[in-house]
């Protein structure tokens, strides 16, 4: 059994890189400011010094080129892990992801593949304004051929990143930046919490994986099911606890392919469900989950499945907490669903 240590999510992600770079010479990591500096959040800090400049390096500011370079390298036998500095800035690379990365295996009938990881910090809660706060996961869940994941804690972040890099498929990993340094339960007025006091802040220092495609039931309950991922997992937990609701809370972890088996089992048991995400509502990933839930669990459902989400507006700087789907809204949705 390997040793473990208290880690923040940043340290856990850093450690995943380190393990991967150590174990597999095909792995390399790059991105804007990701080399010498180690990334604006420090996720690759110290790794260039340790593993060398051709393994961990800076890139020009061109997200399309970053993705394309990663595709070319991955197709040619490497295992790149590319950082997009903020999820808000992934869109110049969208074409390379939709048109190229996701289809390479399919259109070449498996002759060429691009097993790589794109990772990027997402979500609000740090007063980043509309260009440092987006949760754009839903744009990517509609792309056949890539896997999409979002961990909610250091343990999962490391295990999923290792699993992603070892997967034969391209994986896009969104990292809720508000969770980087501590869990966040949606209450901005409370002092910041630390991962060191959280059980998922205890992270093995060596190699391990958390499988993609498997959700985690983070709280057992019988009254209703809550499907969440990323920061919203913590908001759901706090809301249920504070309101004393016997909610079963599912941390989805992987969005594509999502763990419908776990969701359906829970919803078939509880008969009620709320789906949460920070991204805007219309066309958000919650819609997909609900469409599938109502199809697979229709006869068990005793109330409509509610969504609690960000609004259909850009993330407004001054209204961070009116935008963020916090405890009040989550609790209200749970109660309404219980009473419906």
């Amino acid at each position: 059994m390997s040793d473990s240590a208290k880690m923040t999510m940043i340290q856990a992600i850093n450690s995943a890189h380190d393990v991967l770079l150590e174990n597999d010479e095909r792995v390399c990591a790059f991105g804007e400011d990701a080399g010498y500096f180690g990334g604006v959040f420090g996720c690759t800090q110290g790794l260039q010094e340790k593993h060398g400049k051709s393994r961990v390096f800076d890139t020009p500011i061109n997200e399309a080129a970053i993705v394309a370079m990663a595709i070319g390298m991955a197709a040619n036998g490497m295992r790149p892990i590319a950082e997009i500095q903020f999820a808000d800035y992934i869109f110049p690379g969208f074409d390379q992801i939709v048109s190229e990365l996701s289809r390479l295996r399919f259109r070449t009938a498996g002759q060429f593949t691009a097993p790589l990881v794109l990772r990027t910090p997402c979500g609000g809660g740090i007063y980043g304004g509309q260009t440092h706060s987006m949760s754009p996961e839903s744009f990517f869940t509609h792309i056949p051929g890539i896997k999409v994941a979002m961990p909610s804690n250091p343990y999962d972040a490391k295990g999923m990143l290792i699993a992603a890099s070892e997967s034969e498929d391209p994986v896009l990993m969104f990292e809720p930046k508000r969770l980087y340094n501590g869990p966040f339960d949606g209450d901005p007025h409370k002092p910041a919490l630390s991962w060191s006091k959280h059980e998922k802040g205890e992270v093995p220092t060596g190699h391990y994986t958390v499988p993609l495609g498997k959700a985690d039931i983070v709280r057992k309950g019988d009254a209703l099911s809550v499907v969440a991922y990323g920061t919203m997992v913590h908001v759901a937990l706090a809301s249920a606890r504070l309101a004393g609701i016997d909610a079963e809370i599912i941390d989805l972890r992987t969005l594509v392919p999502y763990d419908m088996e776990t969701i359906a089992k829970s919803v078939n048991k509880t008969g009620r469900c709320v789906v949460l995400h920070e991204a805007p509502r219309t066309g958000g990933f919650g819609a997909e989950l609900i469409a599938q839930i109502q199809e697979d669990c229709f006869y068990a459902l005793e109330a409509p499945v509610k969504r609690v989400t960000g609004w259909d507006t850009p993330y407004p700087h001054a209204f961070e907490w009116q935008y963020f789907p916090g405890q009040e809204r989550v609790t209200r949705a749970m109660i309404e669903t219980l009473e419906a």
Binding site: D33, F37, S54, Y89, G129, T131, D312, T313, Q322
Partner: protein, 413 residues
């Protein structure tokens, strides 16, 4: 500057700056030819007549603070003092705002310290009707156009007087009345938009010019290429400025390709004219902007201008430059400080002196402080008051559709 890579071993190269923390600053490799002043071609010349300028440097102020050479715009002492005023105001504003961020009054701030001449001189060289598509480091343009500083601070505080209703990060100004477009947090996106704006002006037969600014790091984005392509193909009346301040965030200009060619040289492949300018020389920036504006206004199309300068402070309040470059680098920067240089030039001319400078500094410091106090009276980000919460659901569309109305009601506002 263009050279064959020195390696002939295999493996790819990751460029490194000449100096990292602990090293002695070294600017010998950046190819500044300070001795041979660049000639000034006729503004209506064929683009190719400017292409040798890609590897030289347009300068007016020499190391003795004299204005010299063909590029000397011959500004009056009054205009020179105005330029100094704008730059100094920019710097003192920045200093104060940065400090206020540290005190928790603002969420974020970005200074333009060391590169104030870029915006101040361009702002003065252009006409008020000329349209500006700046990046986040040209706040000087606002001062050049006499924007109310209280309004600027109110924006940075996201308070109830913020003309952007609290929707944007600090520094991301918009000011339509001043012909100042919206600053985007997304790098480079405004460059091709500026070309579209310029084309619309041209289509209406107006003789206004559009100018845009991006950083050295941002030239790597696809939008830079799109802008240059559009500007060249359609002969748009636009000035495309690359502010080469040597650094992106932690990555130096070599990571954008700056080790292998100047940013001005990128014009050559589009058949655009280019100027490479001492960006810390107020007069040179003024003259170069004027040259490009005259050309564009006459229907001769776009110019790419590289202003060579140095980001003398942190990238933003989220940054710590001592982690990736020597602390002494700013002081070692061979092109000096733009404020000092213009000040010394004015003193040389007998049109300024240390005590007037001190008095101006003090007056501006007070002005900034007073304006901050006034702005704060309209609220702050943390304490409010802000625009009404319901305004968050407005301006997404011209009229609020049913789903946003529902969402607003759901929030109870």
């Amino acid at each position: 500057m263009t050279h064959a890579p020195s390696s002939n071993t295999l493996g790819f190269i990751v460029p490194e700056p000449a100096a990292r923390p602990g090293d002695t600053p070294d600017f010998s490799s950046i190819g500044l030819k300070l001795d041979s002043p660049a000639p000034r071609p006729d503004p209506m010349c064929p683009a190719s007549d400017t292409h040798t300028l890609a590897n030289s440097l347009v300068r007016v102020l020499n190391d003795e603070h004299e204005a010299q050479g063909e590029w000397n715009p011959g500004l009056s002492a009054k205009d020179l003092r105005k330029g100094l005023h704008i730059m100094l105001k920019t710097r003192l504003y920045d200093v104060r705002m940065f400090k206020l961020q540290r005190q928790g009054k603002l969420s974020f701030y970005m200074k333009s310290m060391g590169e104030e001449a870029v915006a101040a001189a361009a702002g003065m060289a252009l006409r008020y009707e000329d349209m500006l598509f700046p990046s986040y480091r040209q706040q000087g343009l606002l001062f050049a156009r006499d924007r109310d500083m209280v309004d600027m601070i109110c924006h940075c505080l996201s308070n109830q007087r913020d003309n952007l209703k609290g929707r944007q990060l600090p520094v991301h100004y918009t000011w339509k009345e001043g012909n100042f477009f919206s600053i985007s947090g997304n790098l480079g996106t405004q460059f091709p938009q500026a070309v579209g704006w310029a084309m619309a002006s041209a289509a209406r037969g107006e003789d206004t010019v559009t100018a845009s600014w991006i950083g050295d790091g941002t030239t790597a984005e696809g939008d830079f290429h799109g802008a240059c392509t559009l500007a060249s193909v359609y002969n748009a009346p636009v000035i495309l400025n690359v502010v080469n301040n040597q650094w992106a965030i932690s990555s130096f200009s070599g990571i954008a390709g700056g080790n292998n060619a100047t940013f001005a040289a990128k014009a050559i492949g589009y058949g655009l004219p280019c100027l490479r300018v001492d960006g810390n020389d107020f007069l040179a920036v003024y003259a170069a902007t004027g040259w490009a504006a005259e050309r564009a206004r006459a229907g001769h199309g776009a110019t790419l201008i590289e202003t060579v300068t140095y980001r003398a402070d942190a990238h933003s309040t989220s940054d710590d430059p001592s982690r990736y470059r020597p602390k002494e680098e700013a002081a070692a920067w061979p092109l000096g400080d733009p404020i000092e240089r213009l000040k010394n030039h004015l003193i040389n001319l007998g049109e300024w002196d240390e005590s007037r400078h001190e008095a101006l500094t003090e007056a501006l410091t007070k002005e900034v402080q007073a304006n901050y106090k006034k702005a704060e009276s309209y609220g702050t980000l943390r304490e409010g008051p802000h625009a009404p919460v319901s305004s968050m659901f407005e301006d997404v569309y011209a009229e609020q559709p049913w789903h946003l109305r529902r969402q607003r009601q759901d929030l109870g506002v």
